[in-house]
Symmetry: C2
Subunit: 357 residues, 2 copies
């Protein structure tokens, strides 16, 4: 087996050239004769990394003035807390749509800080579609949505126009397609799916929405603290920020969001076409809401799973099992996954049909 | 210049063999033909890393039953928040000693959650000593101390016997010497000084002290959440945990805390002997409280700084400048710094005396 086709849902595949540069920086960074892991985060060498990472985000998002870019720790799950703590006013209300496990975890954390109105949910239908046509209450402090539901394989294709600040968890499809990022007042994303390794979380926030809750916020939990120190209030996760910077450089130098959107569309079309065509498999998600990042599908006859598993593993495919909470299969096709890997998977599915069909 | 003598205060020097293994894992981990950065944190390969890291901590600390070991994100600064949020009861009180910038940041965060009694402080004397002979109030919820004050170069040599749970920030001297760790109910340490790279924070907590505040705690901020999921409630900082594991393996395989304590004593004795002996320099800290990790010193004639700086830089020394808030010099002599590097620095100081004295 020459090569692994890595369909892991996250942490997940990164470009090979990024990994090579990262490994080299662990041994010797910037010809300092020191590892990237051994230098002060206040050194000019690392400050340049942080600065470059933040400017790549601005370039990729084409943000107007008035936004700050942060690289924090704690994962997207800590943002579930910080978003509410920084935006939900004392005796205020927040609006959420519940589109999956992560959305519902975000809702749970927000409830610690105040009232939460769930304006729409597809939970009763096992999260197999994205609710549409709901009303966002104009009197709530913010509206929270999840752009891509990693576990269920649904993705918001058209974002609503919100009368209040719109917050989005983009953890699992950040930088996978062109979007009008300026529609959002706050965007966050754990790096480990489409932007880098585990260990850092991107937060992009419009400064004007902050400081309005009337609540005392611990310095470490207050976005304004981190903004005022350019993400260097305390020691940042140096390596994870560096690898995220390298991954964004890879993306930009290859053609940016337009380039990657085109490839991601091709991969998704190929994958879903086979799921639909192949009589042994079926997709679990409403077709119009299918995620380009995570394609969830099942075998019509679950008894065939062991044989199918054996076959894709022999083809060098890894990470294809669905999330432990839902089972079945999930092909995660993040930016760094080449079209070729999807072709290999599709060939395996076809071959499986020939044997079993 | 053949080699860098890395006196950086953190992130700081790591053993060369650890860096080599880390770089190799970034390219191919466990012969999976996948990078450590690309695999699921739920894979058995990474679960083994997390398990091993946690058991190395228990081995090094020789902890009795009843403690949980966590690897979290957010840095030691997030622990300033979590400690108070998890231990300070509604309408309760916490006791802190104020021995430096980090202690005082910890106090600031705790005040968000309730009353803080500062039982002793050396602030008025520019933090140049560790207060002693103070009384820990038996009616407080916990007592918080900082074992090593990274910026000021003081270190607690003998911990008090506390009538209430004792919490300690050991960020800058964790695993540098033998200690009776069972005296503490909670220990935390940002990895990036003596245990690994930036990006993960060790927390060791006695289970029985948790769940008593009467306060609603967001899941991500609640130690019990992370304990119940063995530090895998959300995606852990995979690479930082792995490198910390490698560093602890290096420590244990060489002889553990007894071995490193012996080396650290030698380095500190050599360093302070020269600071005392050399008429051009003086130490800033009360001799009985001098840190083995961070030796702070000044030139009697500050006008000589540029010349001295030139000289140690030419000798391959890096990271010797004091914290930007205090100036002067700080030789950080963490576990991975070889005795040889201190010898080189001492030689430079002697040579400087020959030229200038
Ligand atoms: C959409 C989404 N949000 C949040 C999370 C949680 O991220 P983290 O593990 O970094 O807390 C995930 C993780 O898979 C996710 O897919
Ligand atoms: C003793 C001590 N505590 C806390 C911190 C803050 O750690 P972090 O940057 O990981 O938040 C430091 C950092 O230097 C430290 O030396
Ligand atoms: Mg989901
Ligand atoms: Mg079909
Ligand atoms: Mg200090
Ligand atoms: Mg002297």
């Amino acid at each position: 087996m020459a090569k692994v086709h890595n369909f892991s849902a996250g942490p997940s595949i990164l470009p090979r050239e990024v990994l090579e540069k990262a490994a080299s920086a662990v041994l010797d960074f910037d010809n300092l004769k020191l590892s990237l892991l051994e230098i002060s985060h206040r050194s000019k060498n690392f400050e340049a990394v942080m600065e470059r990472a933040r400017s790549l985000v601005k370039e990729l998002m084409q943000l107007p003035d008035g936004y700050s870019v942060l690289f924090l720790q704690g994962g997207a799950s800590l943002q579930f807390v910080m978003v509410a703590q920084n935006l939900l006013r004392e005796r205020g209300k927040a609006a959420y749509i519940d589109t999956g496990t992560w959305a519902s975890n975000a809702i749970k954390e927000a409830k610690i800080f105040g009232q939460v109105e769930v304006v729409a949910s597809s939970k009763a239908d096992n999260y197999r579609y994205i609710p549409k046509g709901y009303t966002i209450p104009a009197d709530a402090d913010y509206f929270h949505c999840t752009s891509n539901n990693t576990i269920y394989g649904t993705q918001i294709k058209e974002f609503p126009t919100s009368p209040i600040p719109m917050v989005c968890d983009m953890s699992s499809d950040i930088f996978s397609r062109r979007i009008d990022f300026s529609k959002f007042s706050l965007i966050y994303a754990g790096a480990q799916k489409n932007m880098g390794p585990a260990g850092t979380t991107l937060v992009v926030v419009k400064d004007e929405i902050l400081g309005k809750t009337g609540r005392a916020i611990p310095a470490m939990m207050d976005y304004r603290t981190h903004i005022s120190k350019d993400s260097m209030y305390n020691t940042p996760p140096v390596f994870a920020v560096y690898v995220s910077m390298l991954t964004m450089e890879w993306l930009v130098s290859n053609g940016g969001l337009e380039w990657i959107e085109n490839i991601n569309r091709q991969k998704a079309e190929l994958m879903y076409a086979e799921i639909d065509r192949n009589p042994l498999f079926y997709g679990t998600v409403a077709p119009e809401d299918r995620s380009w990042m995570n394609a969830c599908f099942l075998l019509k006859d679950p008894a065939l799973e062991p044989e199918f598993d054996k076959m894709w593993k022999e083809a060098g495919i890894s990470g294809l099992r669905g999330h432990r909470s839902v089972g079945g299969y999930r092909a995660s096709m993040y930016n760094a996954l080449p079209l070729e890997s999807v072709q290999v998977l599709v060939e395996v599915m076809k071959e499986f049909e020939r044997i079993k069909g």
